[in-house]
Symmetry: C2
Subunit: 261 residues, 2 copies
């Protein structure tokens, strides 16, 4: 790696860092190449050696943000001991999402807030964007791989999917089989998606100020909500008993069965 290449990588990093700082001050629409160049002590036209346009810089920030929250969630899940029940992995993932969002509110807003009008997210963002949903759904594979869900232990009724939803979920399940390491039953996948929306709905409301004056420090509400959410997804009621009755069973499974249906 030549000195030139090292300098280029370093400056690219500095440009994005400065842009992130500016994001925090003025938001995505206020992000200005001239301001970035000013902070870096360069002339504004110099930035065009690194990013062909303002939108490309924005895209880089979006990809970085998706990757950052994605790897944070993946790490949080990986940090849970293999013997721990699926439930613990889900809870860890939820907490990781919230923690990252609170630590990087403006990057969170960039990727999960209202889309910037006039900006069309390019193809390259969809891979990184899928990391969090994949990470959330992957633990469910362990339930599916178990052959059957702990039907006897669950007290939560499971209304059947409508025909249209069943087909849609089956198609999605097949399409993402590679990403999540196996085909999920439609019902389980739908529960996972609902949990995904619930999780981000709660985090967004907290960050965007909808809880102002009511559930303002949302810690207790969040903890309660993700407990209920885990009940809903997994179909156990460990929120009551404190420990999943099926945990022992699941723990005996290999943590990572081979991919493919």
């Amino acid at each position: 790696m030549t000195a030139r290449e090292r300098a280029r990588a370093e400056l690219t990093r500095e440009i994005k860092e400065s842009a992130r700082r500016q994001l925090a001050r003025v938001g995505a629409d206020g992000l200005s190449l001239r301001a970035v160049s000013r902070e870096l002590g360069m002339v504004s036209s110099a930035l065009y050696r690194y990013f062909p346009s303002r939108d490309d810089l924005l895209t880089a920030l979006i990809i970085d943000a998706y990757d950052a929250i994605g790897s944070t969630v993946e790490s949080a899940i990986a940090a849970v001991p293999d013997e721990a029940p699926v439930r613990e992995r889900l809870l860890a993932a939820c907490r990781a999402v919230r923690t990252w969002a609170r630590e990087h509110p403006h990057e969170y807003a960039l990727i999960y807030g209202s889309p910037v009008p006039g900006y069309r997210a390019p193809q390259e963002t969809i891979g990184p964007a899928a990391r969090v949903p994949f990470a959330l759904i992957r633990p469910l594979r362990d339930i599916a791989a178990h052959g059957q869900e702990p039907e006897a232990d669950t007290a939560i009724p499971r209304p059947p999917l409508s025909g249209a939803l069943g087909e849609q979920a089956a198609a999605v399940g097949a399409a993402i089989a590679d990403g999540v390491g196996g085909t999920l039953p439609p019902d389980l996948l739908v529960r996972g998606v609902i949990a995904w929306t619930q999780l981000f709905g709660m985090v967004s409301f907290e960050l965007f100020g909808q809880f102002a004056n009511t559930f303002d420090p949302a810690d207790a509400l969040f903890e309660h909500a993700i407990t209920r959410l885990a009940d809903f997804v997994i179909g156990e009621s460990a929120g009551v008993t404190g420990q999943s009755p099926a945990a022992g069973q699941l723990a005996d499974l290999p943590a990572d069965p081979p991919a493919g249906s």
Copy 2:
């Protein structure tokens, strides 16, 4: 009402309409007084007779949007026959939220998307902002007023609230008692809040493009999700039986008991 006053009201309306159209084209940050004045065939400085600044115009749009979705939801609930179970009112409210959001995506983004940096929502917005959550929670009052929840019919376990959450919910419940027409038990209130976040999480993900390439027409997913959501909030499992067993009982209650605990 003098001719002058009528003209003023009319033009104020036209300015806001033009601004809403522009919102759809360029978003909140792109909203420009000069563009509005251009569309109206006026000189830009003339707008200052109607709104003292750009931010005040934005505030007016935000209040209008909150009022619009608020009254839409209220109407949807009111349109449900009095004899219908609480469940039907909840579902109607959820569908109304989604329909309005899809018909007014940019106004939705204005109030539920990422906050505009540098813009601080003034006090006048909090009343209108509360209309939807109040409308969602108000039907739950009927459950609370019934004296007890249909405990026997519910199959969903109800883990207790943590101490901190219980206190917070009790405080919030007391603070909003006037708005919802009665004090709600903390547990019921928390379920309502969780449902609120779930509902808007799902609508936001649909509108902001997170379902792209997966659950893209989200109709079936949404219908399923709100069914589960009603199960969760009300504790009945009408999604399975098709009709709430407690519906008859609740229908005998007065639709609007006097406010206050």
